[in-house]
């Protein structure tokens, strides 16, 4: 069997970075899928990109800016309407421990 391009440890680390709780099956499946993809994208190493600038955007240059005006008006009920857990006008979460 071909060696995986990514270890289970790495999969778990990425899952923590991405805040995804994976079952053992999912971990194994993802390890295989990611390994397959990472193997596939290795073909990019066939290309010498030493002097090639990266493309971060393909839009037109120019920096659109807005005037410093207050254009939004308070509407907490609308903004909180979709909140799964609400306490008055706050969003409620489990206690944060620093």
């Amino acid at each position: 069997m071909a060696e995986s391009k990514i270890t289970l440890e790495q999969v778990r680390h990425v899952a923590l970075l991405a805040r995804l709780r994976l079952s053992a099956d999912e971990e194994t499946r993802l390890q295989a899928d990611m390994s397959s993809m990472l193997g596939y994208v290795e073909k990019l190493n066939e290309l010498d990109t030493t002097n090639v600038p990266p493309t971060a955007q393909v839009g037109e240059p120019g920096t659109p800016m807005r005037d410093d005006e207050v254009t939004n008006h308070p509407a907490p009920d609308d903004m909180l309407a979709n909140a799964p857990a609400r306490h008055g006008n706050f969003f409620k979460v489990p206690k944060i421990i620093e």
Binding site: G62, T63, V70, N72, G88, K92
Partner: protein, 478 residues
């Protein structure tokens, strides 16, 4: 503490709210003190599908900060996404600047107690958006996103500081610069300016830096100084006992007055920076930099120099007054109509600042308005009241809130310059003390003070000393 063997190496990262009306990327208000989640919209709440649009004023203020700190302003800078998960970070990433900030280099000059000045170099200044606030209760935490999206500049210093004093002086100088340049109100108590400290120790003469710890989110100068003092001691102790300093993030506990490591794993982060695809590169053309230069308010150094050259203050006096912008503005507001500016400076430095420091309140709340103090000073200048009477009146005005003229009137503190009344009092005293008059006339000049005192006493302390002198001398001469 073995401060002979070791030296501390300190760098500060300061986050300051920019003085804009609206947020960095949306039109919500930045006003402090609103009810929870009142100043939020789909954008700063991170709803699906929203996109950021940059606030022009935030850019100009960042350029202004860069110019005031002698930085190089980047023609083009890039916004990046900084990813981490925290309940007060709605998008799960903060829009910040990583590799190419808007300002690079620069420095802040600081003055130490010894009289020495030192230059603390800056690494960079960049733009970013603030996160919301968490309030911790017994059974959970509450998230308020009013602050989410408020524009910030992050000012990063080189590790040029070597002591708590250096750090305190740097923060005060930076605070003054931000306020004078009208970049930020920098109200630390409101979270308008926050400081993270990066600190390590090493043996004096060593070239390499030691392992540094980061102390996060300090919001007062005192806390910064104390935390640094504590942390230097702690690190030295670790090293001296054979251990190794861990690279950790700490918080300052103001109650126990110690630093302690942050418990949560959430801060062991890989921020995965990449260029923000929703914002084109930020272009700051030369004409924008020129515009900001022409609009630059008077900075602390310029104001200090002006006070010395225009008002004749000493460097020390000027330094004390410009330390806080509100004090300097207050001082200048007392001046219209006054000739003796040094007297005004002195009054501000002694009477005004004493009350301010004792009360713990701001200059706006603790003392009468500058206009009223100006009136008081003018009355002294015009000999309408004596210096002592003015001090009495001032103390009363601090609590009563009443104006200068009203207070002088109510307390009957007006100085009497009526020559007739003073002449009558002189006559009265001369008549009552014939032997002393004779002694004085016989050559005992020292008795003059006695007579002045008696006349003043007879006048209830309100006589104008100059008029007394004019009249008394003549009368005593015979």
């Amino acid at each position: 503490m073995n401060s002979e063997k070791y030296e501390a190496v300190i760098g500060l990262e300061v986050h300051a709210h920019l003085s804009t009306r609206s947020k960095m990327f949306c039109g919500c208000s930045t006003a402090f003190g609103a009810q929870p989640n009142e100043n939020v919209c789909p954008r700063c709440m991170g709803m699906p599908g929203v996109l950021p649009v940059l606030n022009r004023q935030a850019v100009e203020l960042a350029v202004r900060a860069g110019l005031a700190a002698h930085c190089e302003i980047a023609r083009e800078s890039i916004f990046d996404r900084k990813s981490y998960f925290y309940p007060d970070l709605p998008k799960g990433y903060q829009i910040s600047q990583y590799e190419t900030p808007i300002c690079k280099g620069g420095y802040i000059e600081i003055a130490l107690k010894s009289g020495e000045t030192k230059r603390v170099r800056l690494t960079r200044i960049h733009l970013e958006e603030d996160a919301g606030k968490n309030i911790h209760e017994a059974d959970g935490s509450l998230v308020d996103l009013n602050r989410s999206g408020v524009p910030l500049v992050e000012i990063v210093s080189e590790p040029d500081m070597r002591s708590a004093e250096d750090a305190g002086a740097y923060l005060r100088a930076l605070h003054a610069m931000l306020r004078y340049a009208e970049v930020s109100d920098a109200r630390m108590a409101e979270g308008g300016m926050r400081c993270d400290v990066n600190i390590s120790v090493r043996e004096r003469g060593a070239e390499k830096y030691g392992v540094k710890t980061e102390i996060k989110n300090l919001n007062s100068f005192r806390f910064v100084e104390k935390a640094i003092g504590f942390e230097i001691g702690r690190q030295i102790e670790v090293i001296e006992s054979g251990g190794k300093v861990q690279q950790e993030t700490h918080l300052w506990d103001p109650v126990r007055e110690e630093t302690r490591p942050m418990r949560s794993k959430e801060f062991a982060n890989d921020y995965r920076y990449f260029p923000e695809p929703d914002l084109p590169p930020l272009r700051v053309p030369p004409d924008l930099v020129e515009k900001v230069k022409t609009e630059m308010p008077e900075l602390p150094d310029a104001r200090r120099a002006r006070y010395i050259s225009e008002f004749g203050l000493t460097a020390y006096e000027a330094g004390v007054i410009i330390d806080e912008r509100e004090v300097a503005d207050y001082f200048e507001a007392t001046l219209p109509g006054l000739n003796n500016r040094k007297a005004a400076a002195n009054w501000v430095m002694t009477e005004v600042l004493r009350v301010v420091h004792e009360s713990g309140k701001s200059i706006g709340d603790a003392v009468p308005t500058a206009k009223e103090v100006g009136t008081l000073l003018k009355m002294i200048e015009d000999s309408k009241i004596s210096l002592n009477a003015a001090k009495t009146a001032f103390a009363a005005m601090c609590t009563s809130g009443k104006g200068a003229e009203a207070t002088i009137g109510e307390l009957g503190l007006a100085q009497v310059s009526d020559e007739g009344a003073i002449a009558a009092a002189c006559d009265q005293i001369i008549a009552a003390e014939p032997s002393k008059v004779a002694e004085y006339r016989g050559g005992r000049d020292k008795l003059y003070g006695f007579f002045v005192g008696q006349v003043m006493k007879a006048m209830g302390g309100k006589a104008n000393p100059k008029v007394i002198n004019d009249i008394l001398k003549k009368k005593l001469a015979g």
